[in-house]
């Protein structure tokens, strides 16, 4: 873990308290019901935590990337489903940071600052890892665009106030024909479809979005026509470490639960001995390494340095670590693990390897960076990062 | 108490067959054997009849040496005995040869009240074997049977035709070929499987059947068997006028060799 400033330590502490009070006691119930935790938006309104990425000038907290990572780790520790709501809302508003103009930012951040959430609508049945394969269209008509199509697996879709929707403005241009749009809740023709029942993060709201002749003003276009994919990719670079933070939280939780369980089982000391001790040590190594990698990525971002590759590395690593550690935790705790919230941790961990770019996509990003020709000068400086 | 004989074919399980992309030929290396589907129904039908009213069920098959793998399977499904003829001639045999061989065997085995076959085999589905067999044995034949009963020496069979059904009443002995909808073949219970090893099987040597060499010469010859895979061209015709699109479609089809 990076050395934190006093302010960061304080934020981490208050977040931990918030999570202990609001999230941990309710996690199992909402997971079992598979219901969205609207109460949490109310509980978080005063702290404005959902606006932690919104710049101060718009009323947000403007937390640094590292601080956001601390918050998200605590939320992930408490419940990955509830943490996903927060992470995905930030994902849904990151495009405004990347490409929004002044007027758009004012409009878009307002409901978020007031306690609402956002959603990011990229995925479609035909556009999973092949994000450019989407079929939703946006046709210019006077000073409006008309959107038609559908999105699936959209987190927060049923409860968001504002959405970013990727749509094809020019189907003949492939990737360069996609544009990003703001769509506000309540636009006629914009409806929420079926809710997906999932293996994990069950309290997180995952839905279809249906767009039938949805009219939006031309001023809802983010950036220029054709920049949609570029905006999406830059957004994902920012958003991926948020998922990594949730994953670290899950992993840490699993480790802590193992320690608690073993200490109760074997009150005098760890028995039968080395096998279990070393298993805990291996878990600790993984969690610490994952967290450190993540914090490095966040610090790069905060410093203004490029961090795409590191973003992919931390997302892939932290997701894989969460999966491995939660699996180990169920094994260690046996039938108790299988019949308790420990099982939830394992179910929740799986999605960390999948959403916001599968860990296979992350590896594509990373290998491309690894195989790219080394820059002539400045390579040594980069190495000294 | 009917004495039944079921003729069955041991074929390759088509779901195990792969198509070689290079020349569309079939890769059967990993294909397991199975009792031809409608033959399985025939065995089941005979077993049900005899379980209900007594009698006996025997089974008879003609194939390559692979048929030895079929014996326990068949015996676990009701028959009390299975006769088998294994000969290389089976590899190229058509319905004509098959019927010749089966008829010769049946003449040796004695009389049966009811001879059952599947309507057609899973692999070739010629639907000729039962009819040819009946002709050779000078027996009546009822085909496309979806419901069957036997009382004394009278067989009552419901035939599924293209337009409706027909009920035929025939005085036995009779050859009957059955469709898949006649029954649901049992899943042999474990005891039935284990009991199969204790039931007898008897090889009939083809050389003991007194067949002339011509009788083993197939009248139709398979030159090759190829698989086909649907390949989508994914071409969309999206001109503004329907007439233009149709014209483009028809010229594409003509270019593919369709006229």
């Amino acid at each position: 873990m990076s050395l934190l400033t006093a302010e960061q330590q304080e934020i981490k502490k208050t977040t931990r308290e918030f999570v202990a009070k609001n999230i941990i006691p309710n996690a199992a119930e909402y997971d079992k019901k598979g219901e969205f935790h609207a109460f949490l938006l109310d509980a978080a309104r005063e702290s404005k935590i959902f606006a932690m990425a919104v710049p101060k000038e718009y009323g947000g907290l403007e937390y640094s990337a590292l601080t956001q990572g601390l918050v998200l780790e605590e939320w992930g520790y408490g419940c990955a489903g509830m943490g996903t709501t927060l992470a995905a809302s930030i994902l849904g508003m990151d495009p405004l940071l990347v490409a929004g103009n002044e007027e758009q930012r004012q409009r878009y951040f307002d409901p978020i600052v007031k306690g609402g959430i956002a959603a990011f609508g990229l995925t479609e049945p035909a556009a999973g890892s092949d994000a450019a394969g989407g079929k939703t269209t946006a046709v210019r008509s006077g000073d409006e665009y008309v959107l038609n199509g559908s999105k699936c697996f959209i987190t927060n879709g049923g409860y968001a106030s504002v959405y970013i929707i990727l749509a094809k403005t020019d189907p003949t241009k492939g990737v360069k024909g996609i544009s990003a749009f703001i769509v506000e809740r309540g636009r006629p023709g914009f409806t929420v479809g079926t809710v997906d029942h999932k293996l994990g993060i069950r309290s997180s709201n995952t839905v279809e979005l249906l767009l039938k002749d949805v009219h939006i003003p031309a001023s809802n276009l983010l950036g220029k026509e054709g920049e949609g994919m570029k905006i999406a990719m830059m957004t994902l670079d920012i958003a991926r470490p948020a998922i990594a933070a949730l994953a670290v939280g899950i992993a840490q939780r699993a480790l802590d639960e193992c320690v608690k369980y073993l200490q109760k089982r074997f009150p005098d000391k760890l028995q039968p001995g080395q096998t279990l001790q070393f298993k805990l040590a291996d878990m600790q190594i993984q969690v610490e390494a994952a967290r450190d990698t993540l914090h490095h990525t966040l610090q790069l971002r905060d410093s203004g340095a490029p961090f795409s590759e590191e973003s992919a590395i931390s997302k892939a690593l932290c997701g894989d670590v969460a999966m491995a550690i939660t699996t180990q935790a169920v094994s260690l705790m046996g039938s108790y693990g299988y019949t308790s919230e420990i099982a939830k941790l394992m179910r929740d961990a799986k999605i960390m390897q999948i959403y916001e770019g599968t860990n296979q996509i992350q590896r594509l990003v990373i290998s491309r960076a690894v195989l790219a020709p080394a820059p002539a000068a400045g390579a040594a400086q980069k190495a000294g990062k | 108490m009917p004495k039944c004989l079921v003729c069955y074919k041991w074929t390759l399980d088509e779901k195990d067959i792969k198509i070689k992309p290079a020349d569309s030929s079939l890769d059967t290396a990993r294909a397991k054997g199975k009792i031809s589907d409608f033959d399985r129904n025939a065995i089941e039908e005979a077993a049900l009849l005899v379980e209900k009213q007594g009698g006996a069920v025997h089974a008879l098959t003609y194939g390559t040496s692979a048929v030895k793998q079929s014996l326990k399977d068949v015996l676990s499904r009701g028959p009390e005995k299975v006769y088998w003829i294994a000969d290389a001639s089976a590899d190229a045999a058509d319905a004509c040869v098959t019927a010749n061989v089966l008829a010769a065997a049946i003449r040796k085995l004695g009389s049966y009240d009811l001879i059952l076959c599947g309507e057609g085999s899973s692999d070739v589905f010629n639907r000729q074997t039962a009819v040819r067999l009946a002709a050779l044995l000078s027996l009546p034949c009822v085909t496309y049977v979806e419901k069957l009963s036997i009382e004394g020496d009278t067989v009552k069979a419901t035939r599924k035709l293209d337009e409706g059904s027909e009920v035929a009443t025939v005085k036995g002995p009779v050859v009957v070929s059955v469709l898949g909808q006649i029954n649901k073949p049992r899943i042999p219970s474990l005891k039935q499987v284990l009991a199969a090893s204790k039931k007898p099987n008897e090889e009939i040597k083809i050389t003991d059947l007194g067949l002339k060499p011509e009788s083993l010469q197939p009248k139709s010859v398979h030159r090759s068997v190829k698989g086909f895979v649907t390949k989508r061209k994914n071409i969309i015709y999206k001109e503004s006028s329907a007439a233009t699109n149709v014209a483009k479609l028809t010229s594409s089809l003509a270019a593919e060799g369709l006229r």
Partner: protein, 376 residues
């Protein structure tokens, strides 16, 4: 050395496959959703001789060997591991009674097990990482006409549905490692089944704690002989390891096949994702692990059938799958991406089920000790 199933074993396996398709596939999803004990399926299993598969013919069983047993469990598990959990746990009880039971015990229960009229449960203390005695362990105090049982058995599978429990208790406080096995009828006064626990998967196989509140049992309730319990438990658990491994392989195989079929039709980047090396790697590793596990568990099963020592081999299979079993599902779900996380598809259920067959009863160090002990 023959790695293939015999013709007979293949026919048995085929019957199990056909049974799974006809009776398990149609109910598997609903069973996972409701967790309601599948009585109708139990009756059909009995009709097809699956409940007495491993028991000798003279006892009314099918008398098929252990290799056939694991082949059946694998085949049925491809459709519903919840059902095979019920079967396996019953088999532990029926095997124990058939092997060590008195004539009276066998007469009372074995045929009833085979016919599906009575469900059996095998309750070994499961309080932690080792199958050791914990503070809640069952105690059996000798009385004039028998024993009084007091304590709790944890995480008992088939609890609540079972008509009889094979339980293990400490009869001599001075010798707490010596266990005695008892056959206790579910109707015994003072036997209380706790509330059903919410399992991650294998829903349909009930799991609960069973409290013995001064349960009186006669002398004749002892299974085998006094203090023979540890020997019985060890042997039965070793057999159960192999049977559970068969469940894991069945679930894994089903997952690999589903993921492969999905990958062949899921088009992204203009081609089916099955053409991508990344996907091929995931599928290949999963298929490899299934194949190796199957070979290993069949080899162990053959040793059982031949009456040879098999405990180390059983531990090896268990250890292998403890490390790699869940990876098969983690990777199969990964192939299907978002769809592999949606409960509208089968993989999440298989993921939850395999966690129960591959990770549990696998105390962190227990199987490795057995293996190490056989080598060093």
């Amino acid at each position: 050395m023959n790695f293939q199933l015999t013709e007979e074993q293949q026919l048995i396996e085929q019957s199990a496959r056909d049974f799974a398709k006809e009776f398990l596939d149609p109910i598997a999803v609903q069973l996972d959703y409701t967790g309601e004990f599948p009585k109708a399926v139990i009756a059909e299993l009995a009709n097809h001789d699956f409940l007495g598969l491993h028991l000798p013919a003279e006892a009314g069983g099918a008398g098929a060997g252990f290799v056939s047993y694991v082949a059946v469990i694998e085949s049925l598990s491809r459709s519903s591991a919840a059902v095979t959990s019920i079967i396996n746990n019953q088999a532990m009880a029926s095997y124990a009674i058939q092997t060590w039971g008195s004539d009276a015990q066998k007469k009372q229960y074995v045929r009833a097990f085979i016919k599906g009229e009575t469900i059996g449960a095998f309750a070994v203390c499961e309080n932690g990482p080792t199958t050791g005695i914990g503070p809640d362990a069952l105690n059996a105090t000798k009385t004039e006409d028998g024993y009084v049982l007091k304590g709790t058995k944890a995480y008992v599978r088939n609890a609540g549905e079972a008509g009889v429990y094979v339980v293990f208790a400490v009869t001599d406080a001075a010798d707490p490692n010596a266990l005695t096995a008892f056959v206790v009828d579910a109707s015994a006064a003072g036997l209380k089944v706790g509330p059903r626990l919410n399992t991650m998967g294998l829903k349909g196989c009930p799991v609960a704690h069973v409290v013995f509140d001064d349960v009186k049992v006669p002398e004749t309730a002892v299974l085998g002989s006094l203090k023979a319990g540890r020997e019985i438990a060890t042997r039965v658990l070793a057999l159960a390891s192999v049977a559970e491994a068969a469940q894991t392989v069945g679930i894994g195989q089903a997952a690999v096949e589903h993921a492969a079929a999905y990958a062949k039709q899921r088009v992204q980047f203009g081609k089916p994702i099955a053409t991508l090396q990344a996907i091929q790697t995931l599928l290949a590793e999963a298929a490899t692990d299934c194949y190796l596990a199957r070979l290993a568990l069949r080899a162990a099963a053959q040793l059982v059938e031949d009456g040879k020592p098999f405990e180390a081999e059983a531990a090896i299979v268990k250890s292998f799958l403890a490390r790699l079993g869940s990876k098969i599902l983690v990777d199969s779900c990964q192939v299907e991406g978002g769809m592999g996380f949606s409960e509208s598809m089968p993989l999440p259920r298989l993921f939850r089920d395999i966690a129960g067959t591959t990770l549990l009863d696998s105390p962190a160090d227990f199987p490795d000790y057995a293996i190490a002990a056989s080598i060093a």
